[in-house]
């Protein structure tokens, strides 16, 4: 269930949890018992404030992300949506002078506590970036890298996982003969799917997509969207997007951010058909943004 905090500015109200279909092909080690019913949030943020130096970028964000659901975060440029998603794998702590208040829980455990190792966290919470960013290595090495840094040394296992990941990312058929070629020779859309495969290889539980189609053509975009819909059977997905049609197409839930505030969050169809907040309606109908 999303955003149950009635005191927050988000007027999401109480949406019933989306009906849970029988889990298909679930990655068993990636889920706790409670997840089966979709009631426990996979990730919850509680009263998150974030500052770049003196500038406050996020104001008391409180939101839950259900397991095996796609949650889209929409909003105009500079609303803090990318900033927010980069908190979920602690990517923003690399920004000098930044400061975070509040709580972010992954399976109920505080990811901000000193006991939580950032590298371990990022293994569980993968990320796909706005611009495809393959390493300047071969296709194979790109995917093997994540396994190697996480201590997998068995060559056969690595090979197997590379092939698996490429298949899952719907890239295998296109580039199975090019595993030894530089990843930088692939097209933009292929590079982005390679980045997704690279992310899948380390078996994350959550995948964060930060505007993954921003630099792609419509056909590549369609492929990525299709992929996201397949992936949600196994993974909890959060996607930041500029593109409202995209949010409508791929997401179960949608959150609308505006100037560092979470304005509204709820089932995607509701948000798009009957938004509760005037500002959400204005944005969705294209009156600003």
């Amino acid at each position: 269930m999303l955003n149950q905090d009635p005191g927050s500015k988000a007027a999401g109200g109480n949406f019933p949890p989306a009906p849970v279909k029988a889990p298909v092909g679930i990655n068993m080690n990636s889920m706790g018992e409670a997840d089966l019913f979709g009631t426990e949030p996979k990730i919850s943020a509680r009263g998150v404030n974030f500052y770049y130096g003196q500038k406050r970028a996020l104001n008391g964000i409180t939101i839950d992300f259900s397991p095996r659901r796609v949650t889209a975060i929409i909003g105009p440029s500079g609303c803090g949506k990318s900033t927010f998603i980069r908190l979920l794998n602690r990517m923003n702590e690399l920004v000098p002078g930044s400061r975070l208040e509040g709580e972010i829980l992954l399976d109920g455990l505080d990811i901000l506590s000193p006991a939580c190792d950032a590298a371990e966290l990022r293994k569980r919470v993968g990320m796909v970036f706005q611009k495809p960013n393959p390493f300047p290595k071969t296709v194979f090495e790109n995917i093997a890298y994540g396994l190697e840094v996480n201590g997998v040394t068995d060559k056969h296992l690595i090979e197997e996982r590379v092939v698996d990941s490429l298949k899952k990312a719907a890239l295998w058929d296109e580039i199975k003969d090019r595993l030894k070629d530089s990843a930088l020779g692939l097209s933009g859309g292929q590079q982005q799917r390679l980045c997704i495969a690279r992310c899948l290889a380390v078996s994350p539980e959550v995948i964060l997509f930060d505007e993954p189609c921003a630099s792609l053509d419509p056909i590549s975009t369609a492929k990525i969207e299709e992929l996201i819909l397949t992936l949600k059977k196994e993974y909890t997905i959060v996607i930041v997007t500029h593109n409202m049609q995209q949010a409508a197409r791929v997401s179960d839930n949608t959150a609308f951010f505006l100037m560092g505030d979470l304005i509204e969050v709820g089932r995607t169809d509701k948000i798009f058909k009957a938004p509760r907040d005037k500002r959400t309606e204005d944005y969705i109908t294209g009156r600003f943004g």
Partner: protein, 284 residues
């Protein structure tokens, strides 16, 4: 023709003239040295030791000396320089202290080389007791090469896009793994450029080895890192300023100059080749 077209034509011509002047100077040096030196270069010159008070024979031990000094300098300066650059770009907190450090390193590159020579004399030769030796000379040349290697490495590291650092961290790699396995390989071609430049500079420097390593004449080849050596740049200087047979010595000096030039050029070529191959792998 319109006025602005004429101005443009004149501008381009001026730029071309400057570029052409450059080629004339560079080509002139090579031609001049080659014309006077080429005649004396033969197999014996390359493989024999100097004879008859350096008026005959070859320069083989001199080449060896330059080789050892340069190699020693790079062995010392490369790890130190690259490590410093990594610290400065990847780890150090941003702030005025680091900026000051960076500026100081860049300024170090502008210090006259004879000053490095005096420093080497005081510290390595005398204080540390290494004497006039390959070791002292290599360390002095290494310090001379450091700023070049550091600033080239820093530039190369900074040029590695932040996005692939993030990609690596997002997969659960530590910062150290990210640097070692992603950032360094990507920066390697740039770092090699720094090494190329410093090898060229180190092999050709005279002043730093003047007091720390070089000898006017040493019999035979150097046999340990504590030996005094002959080295090409100093050998040229010695041939032109000392001795009793100016004509013969001048002839050998030009041949040595040509050799030094060829040596530096071929080292550069090799490094450029490695760099080009690296680039090919990375930007297919």
């Amino acid at each position: 023709m319109k006025r602005r077209d004429i101005v443009q034509k004149l501008g381009f011509s001026a730029l071309f003239a400057c570029m052409a002047a450059n080629i004339v100077f560079l080509g002139g040096i090579v031609f001049f040295i080659a014309a006077r030196g080429l005649g004396s270069i033969n197999w014996a010159f390359l493989t024999q030791a100097p004879r008859d008070s350096m008026t005959a024979g070859g320069v083989a031990p001199v080449i060896a000396g330059t080789f050892y000094l340069t190699l020693g300098a790079i062995i010392f300066a490369l790890p130190l320089g690259v490590a410093s650059a990594i610290y400065l770009t990847e780890y150090s907190p941003r702030g005025w202290i680091v900026n000051l450090l960076r500026i100081s390193i860049n300024n170090l590159a502008g210090v006259p080389s004879v000053v490095f020579g005096l420093f080497g004399l005081t510290v390595f030769v005398k204080y540390m007791g290494f004497g006039v030796s390959i070791l002292s000379g290599s360390l002095t040349l290494g310090i001379l090469a450091l700023p070049v290697i550091i600033s080239a490495s820093q530039e190369a590291l900074t040029a590695v896009p932040q996005s692939i650092r993030e990609a690596s961290l997002a997969l659960g790699a530590t910062q150290w793994e990210t640097i070692r396995r992603v950032v360094l390989p990507a920066a390697l071609p740039g770092i090699l450029t720094g090494v190329i430049l410093s090898v060229g500079r180190v092999a050709g420097e005279t002043a730093p080895i003047l007091f720390t390593a070089a000898a006017f004449y040493v019999k035979g080849y150097p046999h340990s890192i504590f030996s005094e050596v002959m080295a090409l740049p100093y050998h040229i200087y010695a041939l032109m300023t000392e001795g009793t047979h100016p004509e013969e010595q001048t002839r050998i000096a030009y041949a040595s100059s040509l050799l030094l030039l060829a040596l530096v050029l071929s080292v550069s070529m090799l490094a450029i080749y490695i760099r080009a191959r690296q680039r090919k792998t990375y930007n297919a």
